[in-house]
């Protein structure tokens, strides 16, 4: 059956409904705004989603209705914005040009110096203010993880962010227009495939998951783009051709989060932000890790499915998911198979995914009662950095206090995310005490031969990995052995 096809994107930009036909699969939102619309308030600082100068809000219809989230316009492709509401700094101006309360707070507290990062910071704070006007310092800092400022030292920005709590947000433009915009986006979400071919490539937005399956069967070489937090850089940094490009971030079926007694199942398109609540329920410390993946904008775009599908040896989610025994479901056409996540990673850059196949979902078992678990990420900078090492530890003790089972999984230590079989063996059956841990630390030496690169030396990676096992042990003994900035979330403790 021939599907209906639409040959244009439709979205709302600030107050204007836009129909766009001539759109390349690699056209970024930032270039569209700056070059085609001359909306130059949004800045390019890095073109890789790490500085936040290009932060805008994107409103999309999720399971709970219309939500506005901060995203990095520099690595967000236009093809992923069908039926979305794009809100830029230019939309904040009040009638008669008066400043928005968030902007006014930034002025009053001297929150800008050179001003180049400022529109992005205003947009991040605006996104926060819409949801949580009276956020505490920890929440504000988390919101600003993806916004670099080189001038102020952030103190004045933090003061401004705390002060904006005083402003009532009920009259805010996006709150007032919420229902109208939601209705308009619903109207634009017609479930029809978008297929646009230009001289610079072809972009496809499937109408449904079945449609996606069909598209990939006929275009097995297509690049699948969900959050584009990685693929975005293939384009902006490596000038790679990714056509034909299939955008999947909008597919409702891939956004499902199912919870049962055993654990949770995340659709491949679920973003880190959307997954947060469910993931916190799987095992202790998962929420802490989650808060350190990228910055807020990246967490609003990036997906767990994408983190897995890319197979990076330094992806943050595979180590804890492997330790928890996660399984990944892949779909090819309408055929579906499920494998252990640890088996998905074959070698560097090589995953168990056939052409035309896509990651459909990942199932993450909840940590059984009584077992010990922790995941630790080590990076040069605490937040918004890529792991030097990411280590997940899970042990079950028997009644005698001996280790009944151990699953230790690591990122940054090998060509793929990988379990430490020798260390696991050294633990299993042994009493859970310092001597056993020392033996397992020594065994890690035979599990891994890490690399030296700009994130860490081989020596440090090995030493830190061993010591993290010791940290894990000490924490199971009730000791506080981590540096913390803010008190851990009580729900997490």
């Amino acid at each position: 059956m021939a599907n209906a096809v639409r040959d244009e994107l439709r979205f709302i930009l600030n107050a204007e409904v836009v129909h766009m036909r001539d759109v390349s699969p690699t056209l970024t939102l930032l270039d569209y705004l700056r070059l085609q619309r001359r909306l130059t308030g949004t800045k390019e600082g890095c073109a890789e989603g790490d500085c936040g100068a290009c932060t805008v809000l994107v409103g999309r219809l999720g399971h709970s209705g219309l939500v506005y989230e901060t995203v990095n316009a520099c690595i967000r492709f236009m093809g992923s914005l069908d039926a979305c509401h794009i809100v830029t700094i230019e939309h904040l101006a009040g009638v008669n040009g008066q400043l928005h309360p968030v902007q006014q707070a930034m002025v009053d507290f001297h929150g800008s110096q050179c001003g180049f990062c400022t529109p992005g910071i205003v947009m991040s704070l605006y996104g926060l203010w819409l949801q949580t006007p009276n956020a505490d310092a920890a929440h504000i800092e988390k919101t600003l993880q993806g916004n670099l400022c080189r001038c102020t030292g952030y103190e004045a920005i933090m003061d401004a962010a705390k002060a904006m709590a005083d402003a009532d947000n009920s009259g805010d433009k996006l709150i007032v227009t919420h229902d109208t915009i939601a209705a308009k986006l619903k109207e634009l979400s017609d479930g029809i495939r978008v297929d646009i071919e230009t001289s610079s490539g072809r972009l496809i937005v499937p109408g449904s998951v079945d449609d996606l399956g069909e598209i990939l069967q006929t275009n097995p070489e297509a690049t699948i783009v969900a959050g584009s937090t990685d693929v975005g850089l293939w384009v902006t940094k490596h000038m790679r051709d990714i056509s034909p490009t299939v955008f999947i971030n909008h597919l409702a079926e891939l956004q499902e989060i199912a919870e049962d007694d055993d654990g949770i199942t995340l659709g491949a398109g679920v973003t880190y932000s959307d997954a947060f609540d469910a993931i916190c329920g799987t095992a202790p410390t998962m929420g802490d890790l989650w808060d350190r993946i990228g910055g807020e904008q990246v967490r609003n775009m990036g997906t767990v499915g994408g983190n897995i599908a890319n197979g990076s040896p330094i992806g943050d989610t595979p180590p804890p998911l492997i330790a928890l025994g996660a399984r990944v479901t892949l779909q090819s056409g309408t055929d579906i198979r499920t494998i252990d996540l640890e088996d998905f990673f074959i070698d560097y850059g090589k995953q168990d995914r056939a052409p035309g196949e896509f990651v459909r979902s990942v199932h993450i078992p909840r940590l059984p009662e009584g077992e010990h678990f922790a995941v630790y990420k080590i990076s040069k900078r605490r937040d918004e950095d890529i792991s030097a090492v990411c280590s997940a530890f899970r042990v079950a003790l028997d009644e005698s206090g001996a280790v009944a089972s151990a699953r230790l999984a690591f990122g940054g230590m090998a060509a793929t995310p990988k379990r430490a079989k020798a260390a696991e063996k050294a633990l299993t059956g042994q009493p859970w005490n310092e001597a056993t841990v020392d033996a397992a630390m020594a065994a890690l030496q035979s599990d891994f031969t890490p690399l030296t690169d700009w994130r860490a030396s081989a020596e440090y990676r090995m030493l830190a990995t061993k010591n993290l096992l010791k940290r894990f042990y000490l924490e199971t003994q009730g000791q506080t052995v981590q540096v913390t900035r803010h008190k851990p979330d009580m729900a997490e403790a």
């Binding site: 130059t40 308030g41 800045k43 600082g45 890095c46 073109a47 890789e48 790490d50 100068a53 830029t88 230019e90 400043l99 902007q103 930034m106 002025v107 001297h110 800008s112 110096q113 050179c114 001003g115 180049f116 990062c117 400022t118 529109p119 205003v122 504000i140 800092e141 988390k142 600003l144 993880q145 916004n147 670099l148 080189r150 001038c151 102020t152 030292g153 952030y154 004045a156 933090m158 902006t236 940094k237 000038m239 630790y376 080590i378 040069k380 900078r381 605490r382 937040d383 950095d385 690169d453 700009w454 860490a456 440090y460 830190a464 010591n467 993290l468 506080t480 540096v483 913390t484 900035r485």
Partner: protein, 777 residues
């Protein structure tokens, strides 16, 4: 007559000096309407240039096939060294060692070797990747120590500072120790990258919009590369999205290429490198290797110091001479060195040419000096603060620097005493020691470090400035000066000075883009000198106009000149109170010139580099900080728990802006000493060239508790603009206390018996490896 001006206060002006006015562009920053060069409406037909970069650290280029580049879609042309009509050189110190485009060699990995000009930036960028370049490799040395060992030359003449007899005093030392320290570089990471837009004019004229701290130098370099006179080139800078020294000389290359292409194709040309290329192809803060040999008595008082500061300068001199000089000028920090020999080694390396960066060598100089203090403290088993105090410059004695300038304005004792008390340093230090005595994984450290920073360009002739002030017939004032606005609030401060001079509200004054056509022969906005120099030049211009207005009023109204007084928004002439715009209008009709070019040169300073003697600095700015940190001895991770700062800014022109400078400089300095690490691979390729790999501080890295105070009792002993002091660079070095606090936490694992000799940046990796090392002591 203007009703609005009538409504203005006659009791006080708004926005005069010493008031915390907001940044003049704040409302534009927050609305995204502040215009940066990439935001400007492009002239019709604007072309875009992109650089082709070499891929060898040290090689001869044996062939360069650019046919595919030329044939790529949208390409208009390709420029190589042969296409430069004038001189292929942008060396800011005129040593002729820095080409616009390299000619036949690759002097570092990432050196620009050609430029593509195309209809769009994307087309130019894609085309640049199509070049086929063959190289013949030569051995390369990217590290300063490796360059020294390989016998590499200096890129510029080294400096030696001597006072007393260092060698003799070392030979008869009470106690003596020696050591070495590595200090990493730093990328500026201005949020707005390098950019230039050149618009061709008639004859040989060209206008260049450049994100630069030094429009006059851009003008000179562009005219040199074009082979035209300076009067054909106009350079304009409204604002930068951050500079920090990275746009003092590094904009030359981009401006030159844009201008050459603009003249060649007779179309406007814009050039803006991607962040990765910006970080690869432009210079950074110098890395240093410091060796020291020190003699000291049993109280920790220094008897003699002999130190060598070797710096990774890169392939050319750029500003490495003055940078390494300033490192020596600041290695004494606040300490009297009775017998001293300091030597610089500006080493050539096969890396990008390093350049100015906030502090300009001073931070590295100071860090080396502070390491010496730390070494003595650990050797004697004392609090480093005690050693610091024992070595502070005296007021009337022990006050001569290694460059023979007498420290005449020393306030470090009061600064440190006040901070020590307000931060509760002694009690907290006891608590830190008690915490560490319990053992455990988490260790703490606390440190108080002082700063004394010399203000003035050490090249004496740079200490001059111009300004241009017009009053129009409606009484509104147009202000232009030679300084550039990079976020530091210079324009706001200078406008406050002008408001104060005329006693008019700040809103009366419009600040306009820096232009070489309005104020010529300017110095870089650098060395923290912006408001000192330009504020004075603007005041001078105002003074000229005021004198004319006074003369006119005195004559016209028949009152003595002393009875013509500028009062808020009015001029009192005898018994009459005339609104300022009214007097201006009258003066105009009586043919009084209402415009003036102001000028200022810093008095008292002189410097003889050959002798290593003089008074290079007009005055010193002081400050001190206390940092408390916690480290994790299993992973090396750490956190800055609390920082207290007391900074001397003289009598602040604008306390709000100065506070922002102090906070921002501290966090930037903290980044330099903690997470900002430059990492080159074995091929000499910089692998930390974007924010994904190069980590500057985030909001969640700033000190958890951050108490910053300006020393409100301070006033500049010298006659600076309204007795204020420079603020841009000095507080950067307050971050030294973070490194030393980390060091103390590390030292605790060996019960403080040994100085941890922590190199910078103290990444978690360096902390952990230092902990492991000390555990074995």
């Amino acid at each position: 007559m203007n009703d609005a001006s009538n409504a203005r206060s006659s009791t006080a002006i708004s926005g005069g000096v010493h008031t915390p006015r907001r940044h003049d562009s704040a409302h534009k920053h927050v609305t995204g309407t502040a215009e940066y060069i990439d935001d400007m409406a492009e002239p019709s037909g604007t072309l875009h240039a992109y650089l082709g970069l070499s891929e060898r650290a040290n090689a001869v280029i044996t062939s360069m096939d650019l046919d595919a580049v030329r044939a790529a879609p949208g390409v208009v042309g390709v420029l190589t060294a042969a296409d430069i009509p004038g001189e292929n050189d942008i060396s800011p110190t005129h040593r002729h060692d820095e080409p616009v485009l390299s000619d036949g060699t690759s002097a570092f990995y990432g050196q620009p070797i050609f430029a593509v000009i195309a209809e769009s930036r994307d087309a130019a960028r894609r085309a640049a990747l199509l070049a086929k370049v063959d190289y013949e490799d030569r051995p390369h040395h990217i590290d300063v120590v490796s360059a020294v060992e390989a016998g590499y030359p200096h890129v510029t003449d080294p400096l030696q500072l001597r006072n007393g007899d260092a060698e003799g005093a070392l030979a008869t030392a009470t106690n003596r120790l020696s050591g070495e320290m590595r200090i990493g570089g730093q990328d500026h990471f201005y949020l707005e990258g390098q950019i230039a837009l050149a618009v061709p004019g008639e004859d040989d004229e060209v206008t260049v919009y450049s994100s630069t701290q030094h429009p006059s130098e851009i003008q000179h370099m562009v005219s040199q590369a074009l082979g035209t006179a300076s009067n054909a080139v106009t350079v304009q800078t409204r604002r930068m999205g951050g500079g920090f020294g990275g746009k003092e000389t590094q904009g030359n290359q981009f401006a030159a290429i844009a201008a050459i292409a603009a003249k060649r194709y007779n179309r406007a040309v814009k050039i803006r490198p991607d962040r990765d290329d910006d970080m690869t192809a432009t210079g950074k803060r110098h890395d240093f290797h410091v060796t020291y040999d020190v003699a000291y008595d049993d109280n920790g008082r220094i008897e003699a110091l002999d130190a060598v500061y070797a710096a990774r300068c890169g392939f050319s001199s750029d500003l490495s001479g003055p940078v390494t000089d300033r490192a020596l000028f600041h290695s004494d920090n606040c300490y009297f060195l009775p017998n001293v020999r300091l030597r610089s080694r500006p080493m050539k390396t096969d890396t990008v040419s390093n350049t100015a960066f906030r502090g300009f060598g001073g931070p590295q100089g100071k860090l080396g000096g502070e390491r010496v203090i730390e070494e003595i403290a650990y050797a004697l088993g004392k609090d480093p603060l005690e050693i610091r105090k024992a070595n502070f410059y005296g007021i009337d004695e022990r006050n001569v620097t290694p460059y023979h300038q007498v420290v005449e304005d020393n306030i470090i004792h009061r600064i440190v005493d006040e901070l020590e008390a307000s931060s509760d340093y002694q009690v907290r230090r006891k608590a830190v020691l008690a915490h560490n005595a319990k053992g455990g994984v988490l260790r703490k450290g606390i440190s108080l470090t002082p700063v004394k920073f010399g203000i003035s360009f050490t090249a004496t002739w740079f200490n001059q400035a111009g300004a241009l002030v017009h009053i129009y017939q409606d009484g509104s004032i147009h202000l232009n000066h030679g300084g550039t606005e990079m976020g530091q609030g210079l324009n706001t401060k200078v406008a406050q000075v002008v408001a104060d001079e005329f006693q008019v509200d700040l809103e009366t004054i419009r600040i306009t883009a820096t232009s070489t056509g309005k104020v010529p022969n300017t110095s870089a906005t650098a060395a923290s000198s912006g408001s000192d120099l330009n504020g004075m030049a603007a005041a001078n211009a105002c003074g000229q106009i005021k004198a004319r207005l006074v003369a006119y009023a005195s004559e016209h109204f028949g009152v003595p000149a002393e009875q013509v007084v500028f009062v808020p928004n009015h001029v009192r002439v005898g018994n009459q109170l005339i609104p300022f715009p009214e007097l201006v209008r009258q003066a105009y009709t009586h043919r009084v010139q209402l415009s003036a070019a102001g000028f200022y040169k810093t008095p008292k300073i002189h410097w003889d580099r050959q002798k290593g003697q003089g008074r290079p600095f007009f005055y010193f700015a002081y400050g001190a900080s206390v940092s408390e940190v916690t480290i994790d001895t299993l992973t090396g991770e750490y956190h800055v728990d609390r920082v207290d700062i007391l900074q001397d800014v003289g009598k602040s022109l604008n306390p709000a802006i100065d506070m922002g400078q102090v906070q921002g400089a501290f966090v930037q300095g903290m980044g330099w000493l903690t997470t900002e690490e430059l990492w080159w691979d074995d091929n000499g390729r910089l692998r930390t060239h974007a924010p994904s790999t190069y980590k500057i501080p985030l909001a969640s890295d700033k000190p958890k508790e951050f108490n910053v105070e300006l020393a409100n009792w301070s006033t500049n002993k010298e006659r600076t603009i309204r007795r204020s002091k420079a603020v841009g660079e000095p507080p950067f070095m307050l971050a030294n206390s973070v490194l030393e606090a980390l060091s103390m936490a590390v030292a605790s694992v060996a019960d403080y018996r040994e100085c941890p000799r922590l190199d910078a940046p103290a990444t978690p990796e360096r902390i952990l490896l230092a902990v492991e090392r000390l555990k074995k002591v």
